[in-house]
Symmetry: C2
Subunit: 404 residues, 2 copies
């Protein structure tokens, strides 16, 4: 493929704190590598923007503005959740063909890779030469064939620090039980990252529940009571996506039939349910916290490693496409060795589109109520530096009044 | 009152991010002003620790550890929620009398001031000379007779920044409506502080609901639809304590009869209810975020002004007590003038115990769905510096797909 041809960039699905770092990486590398005559467009509002032929000229913003945008949360181009039909994929490619677009980059998760794949297939049917390239992005960390996904490290940093903070409050609190709900849909990667908050055995979180292991309410209540009896306070990290033994969500569902455009069930407020369960069944006052998407849009809690990789994986996708490759998702591969280092690679879109990489059960404690220490090695380098830990006055457990 | 006599410090109610700055202020000032022979004790686990005669020696930690503790969230001494009976207040005073305690400082909110008052009354009955002093603390900002309460500024900073961040995500998101639940019980001060996130009319939050104005579901739905029609995305800030026209909470209550030790109703998850309402009635997909107590324990989001004042108001309480005063709560008075400056004062415990200062209706928009600009002048200096705002690529509203 030549070094000429216009470029289009699409952002898909939910944003992350570093999705715009990837956008910046693609724009900067394209600007450097392609002739000035080639246009670089951003699709306004995701793939819908392509279908509607609505664009932003990404050569326009100054380098200074680009650097600021790279550090801003949210999808700067706008995003959507839309599953393309084969027909729409063909329409989209027709739009791009009319604009002589030869490079199409889709920044997104599993569903966005489906979009990229369908467009690659449509282009191939038309014998239209266009590189369709995926750039990974998801706080859920559930894309296959990559060590991890940009966006995850920052969300992991946020939720692990939140768990440290919460522990400081809850351990001294008259209401000594908190259930912290963590995003991640069907995958427990992000919830498992709360493990980083725990430096000593009695630190929060005391119990961690991920969707990969069925949630048994009776066991949960038993575990909460045990921790409470042992030390008088309990912080539980729970994934929004946990399901019971019958595969049913435990959330306060707003609408049983709620699904997104891709047919994924929308999880309810599961921490609310669990806190109610503890209060009703154990007579211990429990509360719930659900930072929700605050955990993916806090630029103040970004992992510097995550931000750097998000940018670099975008740059890599451009250079890989310019070398004549198409139909791939750029990936991050961790190198063996003592120090954390990565290199970038490419995997076939076929191998990632619509697939979910769950947290391997080797990381989950046998009773399904905790995460094993070896997960720490995996996730620690991704959050880009130590968490903020605090001083503590008491050297022993504090006495507390009986709950009312 | 002489400069001799032992000192006791009690922390009460829910912690804040700066409650230990007040503790530090009291300890440091006591250490400076009182003879070395006098003991400085902390009650372990709030007033319950006094009744149980359980203490920590607060002269022991090094100055360096004290400085770290001053910057740590949570109540370093441990806290409780217990309403003292007159009988228990007498028992507590007897315990203190046996230890020759002449200065008792209670750091807390409305309920803790009740504790301080009852102890002052019991001491007076016994003709036992002991200064009972309150040091204000509450993120709810609902103590009367003080311009504001330590802890509020930091919680306000947290929630206002969270609103900025959330806006960046939601404005580009396929699910374009978020309901952000804010703490504050019956008082809307903290929820109103989200106003600081809004610099331009279309910035988040678009709607703000506080408990001081009855919540009318039909009006709420109408307002959400209006904002959505105008700009395609909506961020709503709502107090956990909102009530409908009949005085009923709108939360997903875990237990209708749930109250704390002081008989205050425990609010449920009101944002969950409102998001469900929008989804069901308007057919617009809405989600909810509830950072909950994460908003009062993040030391990374502390207001430096709040931290300084928390320490200073503690120091002031000591110096005021040593000058022979008792039965008071230290207060913060804002000085008139262009620059933000405060001085410290003292108000009678009678005037604050168990009383709630609601957000004055002069700050609430007539329709009860927003906060007036003049509130900004009140709250802005308290968060201790500008919020972090981000760069934005689009100069116009982004097109978005119809919700599914």
């Amino acid at each position: 493929m030549s070094r000429t041809g216009n470029v289009v960039i699409v952002q898909g699905g939910g944003p992350t704190a570093v999705i715009n770092a990837s956008l910046y990486g693609i724009v900067r590398e394209s600007t450097r590598r392609l002739d000035k005559s080639n246009r670089i467009w951003g699709a306004c509002g995701g793939i819908v923007g392509v279908l509607q032929d609505r664009w932003q000229d990404l050569r326009k913003p100054s380098p200074r503005l680009w650097r600021s945008i790279a550090e801003s949360p949210g999808a700067a181009l706008g995003s959507c959740r839309k599953m393309l039909t084969a027909q729409e994929a063909m329409e989209a490619v027709r739009v791009l063909q009319r604009r002589d677009v030869r490079y199409c980059f889709v920044i997104g998760g599993n569903d966005s890779m489906d979009t990229a794949l369908k467009m690659a297939q449509a282009a191939s049917e038309f014998h239209y030469e266009m590189a369709c390239c995926g750039v990974p992005k998801t706080i859920d960390n559930d894309l296959p064939c990559t060590d991890h996904c940009p966006g995850f490290g920052s969300a992991a940093r946020y939720i692990a620090q939140a768990t440290v903070d919460l522990g400081m409050d809850i351990r001294t609190l008259p209401t000594p039980i908190s259930i912290l709900e963590v995003m991640g849909r069907n995958a427990g990667w992000l919830t498992a990252a709360t493990l980083l908050a725990r430096r000593k055995p009695d630190d929060a979180p005391h119990l961690i529940y991920v969707p990969e292991s069925p949630f048994v309410p009776a066991d949960f209540l038993h575990d909460v009571q045990n921790v409470y009896d042992r030390q008088g306070w309990v912080v539980v990290a729970v994934s929004e996506g946990i399901i019971d033994e019958h595969g049913k969500s435990l959330g306060v569902t707003r609408d049983e039939k709620s699904t997104d455009a891709f047919g994924h069930a929308l999880p309810g407020d599961v921490a609310t349910t669990l806190a109610g369960m503890v209060t009703a069944e154990l007579g211990l006052r429990a509360r719930s916290e659900k930072p929700g998407i605050l955990g993916r849009c806090s630029a103040l809690m970004v992992s510097p490693v995550d931000r750097r990789e998000a940018k670099e994986v975008g740059s890599f996708a451009v250079s890989w496409a310019i070398r004549g490759n198409s139909n791939f998702m750029a990936s991050i591969q961790r190198e063996h060795g003592k120090e954390y280092r990565v290199k970038y690679g490419a995997v076939s879109l076929d191998a990632v589109a619509n697939l979910t990489r769950l947290l391997p059960l080797e990381f989950v404690a046998p009773r399904g109520n905790d995460i094993k220490e070896k997960y720490r090695e995996y996730v620690k380098p991704l959050i880009g530096g130590s968490l903020h830990h605090y001083a503590w006055l008491a050297t022993r457990s504090l006495p507390r009044s009986k709950p009312n």
